[in-house]
Symmetry: C2
Subunit: 110 residues, 2 copies
DNA sequence: GTCATGGGCAACCTCCTGGTTGCCTATGGA
DNA sequence: TCCATAGGCAACCAGGAGGTTGCCCATGAC
């Protein structure tokens, strides 16, 4: 099992990978389940293919996306597991907050 | 209502704000509901007070934290709303993914 | 009043990030 | 076979992010 510090680092890098407009756009294109080539993903982005490639590498590094080579093109597909993980973490944080507030409220009302 | 593009930008900046180990640590300290001063938040971070202040400003800019002045110190507290928002978005993405997979699967099996 | 403490502001530095361009390789189709 | 298309690699660049230091102001304690 990963240490708490390592988990924190991993979590931070997933959020960092999501913290870019372009990359969120790429993810959105991939949520329909169909793996897309870099050329297809570049369409409609105002960016160079190279720039898009870099963004895809960032997403790949945190595991939210993976690539499979198909002939001369490499298709990227989404892996929702890190996303689900991040989602669960945020849920955890907001729950903790709710609990804390409830406790404080009870303390005041007593 | 915000345009879709603006919503995307907002979302990206929230994730970007969460995409740093130090800031996740600060959030963790604030999830128990008690507003903390900058000095308190700096304790145990190996960082300068100034550095911590900068991180708090980043969190404040995206609304995940707010400050209230209390005498000579300014206390920071968590506002879970942007976090809940981000959490809902990630849930949405993973749900979309699930639906897409189910559709593809049905298509193959037919 | 005096002093320690909490914090703001600004300058500065380094390194990473996002982006570009140029060039090269490989694959698939005509 | 020849050419267009899909990508990879490396160099390069500007700007922003994270961090420090130094100095100043305000407030609370004594």
């Amino acid at each position: 099992m990963p240490s708490a510090a390592a988990a924190l680092r991993t979590r931070a890098s997933v959020f960092a990978a999501l913290g870019d407009e372009t990359r969120l756009g790429l993810l959105a294109k991939l949520t329909n389940g169909e793996p897309l080539s870099i050329a297809r993903l570049t369409e409609g982005t105002k960016l160079t293919r190279q720039a898009v490639t870099k963004h895809l590498r960032v997403l790949e590094d945190v595991g939210v996306v993976y690539s499979i080579k198909a002939g001369r093109e490499s298709r990227f597909a989404l892996d929702p597991r890190p996303i689900v993980n991040a989602q669960a973490y945020l849920l955890h944080v907001s729950r903790q907050w709710d609990d804390a507030l409830a406790r404080l409220k009870a303390l005041v009302e007593r």
